[in-house]
Amino acid sequence: MTDILNILLLLFLIVCAVGVAHIRDLLSAVILFSAFGLIMAIIWQQLGAPDIAMVEAALGTGVAALLLIAAISKTKRAE
Amino acid sequence: MSYILILFLVILAIFLRFVIGVELRSILTIYLLGLIVYLFSFTVAEMPPFGRPDNPAFNEVPARYLEAGPSETGAINIISSVITDYRAFDTLGEATVLFVAIAAAVATLKSHRY
């Protein structure tokens, strides 16, 4: 059961990574990147590292996405 | 076995290039990616399984931390006792990296002010 969950999470991770590289709209790319960070946090939790999961959920999902949104708001949205 | 595989790949490349008309660059790229995937899966298959007690990473060092950590540092969170007591100098280096990074960012973003 846990194996199925882990495989699904890894598949979502790959889909998010490919989507970030392929999508043209930068704001959508940031949101996909944030989803990537959230899935990565769940994977850290599954690997037994809850403190790393907390750092990833706060930094990788929250702050990195917010900094990128700030950068987009000062430049153009389209690639 | 491997000679047959290489022969098959070469014949497949010639077939794709001259009969179907795929560019040689794409064929070589796909072959290179396949080689990388093969090497990576070989590496992953050789790795020890996750969480097994007789893994090579679980030697006498983590055993010592787990046994003597709470009594030596007073913290029941072993990770915290490692990163801020046993390896506190590492954490100081990490904080220094953070400090230098933010100093560089501020110096770059604010260099036009003065």
Partner: protein
């Protein structure tokens, strides 16, 4: 920045809870998963959330530029001074039990001596670093080339 009512009300409702959780993670770093980096990142994320969903002035009202810079340097300085106090007490640099910090009883809130102090300093440093970085990126520039003084 984002002129959106839903985002504003949601972030105003959620931000205090995020801050309380960040302080909890910092203060319980020696008892539960987490520590200075995790709690500081959570606390800094709440401040950044307020500054992003309202505007820079609302974020600066929470913690000003000057305060953030002082806290950031002070966190690193406090970490270093804690190690020097250990030398003054007769141990190695950043020693805990060997320097004679009161360890207390393992599992209690006030325990583990220097670990709690270092965790609090690291948390302050990480939170103010994130805030400073965000403020510096988001600040508007006036045509004279000077950044707008926000406070």
């Amino acid at each position: 920045m984002l002129e959106d009512q839903i985002v504003r009300i949601t972030s105003r409702l959620v931000a205090p809870f995020i801050q309380v959780y960040g302080i909890y993670v910092i203060l319980h770093g020696h008892l539960s998963p987490g520590g200075g980096f995790s709690g500081g990142a959570i606390f800094g994320a709440s401040l950044v959330l307020i500054a992003l969903s309202f505007n820079l002035e609302a974020g600066v009202k929470q913690i000003s530029h000057q305060t953030a810079s002082v806290l950031e340097s002070g966190g690193a300085l406090g970490f270093t001074v804690t190690g020097l106090i250990a030398i003054a007490l007769g141990g190695n640099y950043l020693a805990n039990r060997a320097a004679g910090f009161p360890l207390g009883e393992a599992g209690q809130f006030f325990s583990s001596g220097a670990i709690m102090v270092i965790t609090v300093f690291v948390g302050i440093k990480v939170a103010s670093t994130i805030t400073t970085l965000f403020y510096n990126i988001i600040e508007k520039e006036t045509p004279h080339g000077n950044s707008k003084q926000a406070d």
